[in-house]
């Protein structure tokens, strides 16, 4: 019994990290159609902010989360203003531009913060482990899971129940017609981009105590995030939630029965097969081409 619980918890922990990283990407792509290859760098910058605030100013990780969200969101806002807004409806150019931004960000961090690996101290209150139905799990991993679910709920509620969300859904269906009804789509896009970037920064800060912090760390996360979004269906928030759950549990289980190398390969093969037969992803909405 405790083995089953431990395995489910491990899978959930993997899923929560995938969800955190993919959520921002899914929002940005779903609303604006921009494939943001610099997403991994937002994650990396979030982790570096956590490291900087902790090592230079002595802030604990929990206290700095809100600040990190705002900082990275502001950065996303600026990038949208300076670069992205000129490139809407030019998918190839946005891919190239965001990729270039990502490379530049990596090198700027390498030049200013240095290339050595960094680490972020776990909050002392969460550094213990918790017993759930006979299985032990790290309190911090459970905390990350809770935050990921909380952020997902918040995003979903904004999307579903606020007037801003209503406007977003209208723009997603047809930007031109929504604009003709007086919706300020440029502002909505900018806020969406900033919000997606902020969530990515938060993801980076939250995973930094578990992983190592380095200028290249974003690259692996952006690949994972794309897997989640493509599998879940690109315009579906629920799809992102479901596919990160499926991918997390599957790779946790496969890694337990074989090893992480084989798990990674099998999960990728499974995604290739699914995309072959269901190119729109698992949870594609029926509207809009």
């Amino acid at each position: 019994m405790d083995f089953v619980v431990a395995q489910i918890l491990t899978g959930l922990s993997l899923s929560s990290i995938l969800l955190l990283v993919a959520l921002g990407l899914a929002i940005i792509y779903g609303v604006t159609g921009v494939i943001n290859l610099a997403h991994g760098e937002f994650v990396m910058l979030g982790a570096y902010c956590a490291w900087l605030l902790q090592s230079q100013f002595g802030w604990s990780l929990l206290a700095s989360l809100a600040v990190i969200f705002l900082l990275i969101a502001a950065l996303g806002w600026l990038i949208e203003l300076a670069v992205i807004r000129h490139l809407y409806d030019r998918p190839l150019d946005t891919i190239l531009a965001t990729w270039g931004l990502g490379v530049m960000t990596q090198q700027i961090v390498r030049l200013t913060a240095g290339g050595e690996l960094r680490y972020v101290q776990m909050p002392p209150s969460l550094s213990g482990s918790v017993n759930i139905l006979g299985a032990t799990d790290s309190a911090y991993r459970l905390f990350v899971l809770a935050v990921a679910l909380g952020l997902f709920l918040l995003t979903w509620c904004i999307y579903r129940y606020t007037s801003f969300g209503l406007k977003l859904r209208a723009i997603t269906q047809n930007r031109a017609i929504a604009s003709s009804f007086g919706i300020n789509s440029a502002r909505a896009y900018r806020l969406t981009f900033a919000y997606g970037a902020g969530i990515a920064g938060l993801a980076g800060a939250l995973i930094s105590p578990l992983k190592s912090v380095s200028p290249e760390m974003g690259t692996t996360y952006v690949v994972d995030a794309f897997m989640v979004v493509v599998l879940g269906g690109v315009q579906s928030l629920v799809g992102t939630l479901a596919s990160s759950a499926v991918l997390g549990e599957a790779s946790g289980l496969l890694a337990y029965y074989s090893n992480d190398t084989i798990a990674k390969a099998l999960v990728l093969i499974a995604i290739v097969i699914i995309i072959r037969f269901r190119p729109q992803g698992l949870f594609a909405p029926r509207v809009r081409a």
């Binding site: 491990t10 680490y119 550094s127 213990g128 482990s129 790290s138 578990l210 890694a255 190398t261 990674k264």
Partner: protein, 415 residues
């Protein structure tokens, strides 16, 4: 067409053979072609200053340059100054080969000191073997190599494991979990480890490899929990090792009952993961920064005053440092006109030097070094506590996992 091409190749081969074999032999005393001229002797320094492995290789570059400066400040070698030609191979094996060719052919360096990863060493090997030059490699590595053109000053598996494995079995127990990154180094180390464990009657309950750069160890840690090994033998490298240690600690596992034993976790890696995550785990290495000897005191002080008070020295930078001094001793035995890569190789055979880790010696047969391995336990302040030291220095045996093969001065022999 075909015949022309064949003739052309023949002519080229003949010219090549003449220029490689004929020229230096006949003309090496000629001032314009001798390796030592104008009161200086050129050596190549080939460590990555940019790219993924730059962090660690930069420290090797610094230790190398510091040793060269020391020797020059001391009057050089028989009044010859050492001139270092520094190249940056940018953490890329192909660039390593290209820069090595440049150092050997156009700069005419008499030796090249460099490289950290096995991949980059394998990439430069053909250059040194073809040009009959000499490469000095400071890193611990997986063994199973027998080149007449490389001086290996880092440890091979038997030197790090012969004392370490029995000590751990006795202290913690016989159920072992082997976890490594998925490439050649961990597999070769594990081959030897399994051989030792079998001899000790210990049991390998799992042998597992994760992809290079892997950073999610929760499934692995779940297996630690359910299998309850006595020792986790970790050959995980790079940023993965940081993730493994931090997640091990977050999971609340206890190093006192299930320690991780590593051959690669040095002061450098500990600084990257934080002392709290490394505390309690074990490393076997010929050198630790805290090692108490007058030579090491001098080395650490010189390193910090030259490069900054917060810098750490570790077992690879120590080898990078002492191999320059072995080079000096070998060159000092030669007259200026005789100085050349092969003469240096012959002169360094059996040479001894009092390094920061203690006395080291170059084994004449396989050009690896006799070293004195130590077992260290990491403390929360990021330094190690040295628990034991091998009673005697240990002979290097790069084929320790393959008893029917032996590396000799004539090359690899089947026995």
């Amino acid at each position: 067409m075909n015949r022309n091409r064949r003739n052309f190749l023949k002519a080229g081969a003949a010219a090549g053979a003449f220029s490689l074999v004929g020229f230096p032999h006949i003309w090496s005393k000629n001032a314009s072609l001798a390796f030592a001229q104008d009161g200086e002797i050129k050596v190549g320094v080939l460590f990555s200053l940019t790219g993924t492995t730059a962090i660690i290789e930069e420290s090797l570059n610094k230790a190398t340059l510091m040793a060269i400066e020391e020797i020059n400040a001391d009057g050089g070698i028989n009044d010859l100054k050492i001139t270092a030609v520094v190249e940056d191979p940018a953490s890329d094996p192909a660039t390593f080969a290209e820069k090595a060719r440049k150092l050997v052919l156009s700069d005419r360096c008499v030796s090249v000191f460099g490289s950290y990863t096995s991949a980059s060493r394998k990439a430069v090997l053909p250059v040194f073997e073809k040009q009959e030059n000499l490469f000095w490699y400071p890193t611990l590595y997986e063994g199973r190599e027998c080149s007449k053109n490389v001086i290996y000053t880092g440890a091979v598996p038997n030197q790090q494991q012969d004392d370490f494995i029995p000590w751990l079995v006795e202290k913690f127990g016989k159920r072992w979990y082997l976890i490594g990154s998925n490439y050649i180094y961990p597999k070769e180390e594990n081959n030897y480890c399994k051989k030792l464990l079998e001899g000790l009657g210990a049991e390998v309950i799992a042998e597992e490899y994760v992809p290079l750069g892997h950073s999610e160890f929760s499934s692995v840690i779940n297996k630690f929990r359910s299998e309850k090994p006595n020792v986790i033998f970790s050959t995980v490298v790079g940023d993965s090792v940081v993730a493994l240690h931090r997640q091990y600690r977050a999971a609340g596992l206890d190093p006192a009952t299930m320690p991780m034993a590593s051959l690669t976790t040095s002061e450098n890696e500990v600084a990257a993961m934080g002392g709290d995550a490394a505390a309690g785990h074990f490393t076997s290495a010929p050198y630790f920064m805290v090692f108490d000897s007058p030579e090491n005191q001098r080395f650490v002080d010189a390193y910090r005053s030259r490069w900054g008070g917060d810098k750490v020295t570790h077992f690879v930078s120590e080898s990078a440092y002492f191999q320059i001094h072995l080079f000096r001793q070998a060159v000092a035995k030669l007259t200026a006109g005789d100085i050349g890569p092969l003469a240096i190789r012959e002169a360094v055979k059996g040479e001894e030097y009092k390094a920061p880790q203690g006395l080291v010696k170059v084994e004449p047969e396989n050009l690896h070094c006799w070293l004195r391995p130590k077992i260290g336990q990491c403390k929360a302040d990021g330094q190690f506590e040295i628990l034991t030291q091998s009673a005697d220095w240990l002979e290097p045996n790069p084929y320790s996992a393959y008893p029917n093969q032996k590396c000799t001065a004539e090359g690899l022999k089947e026995v």
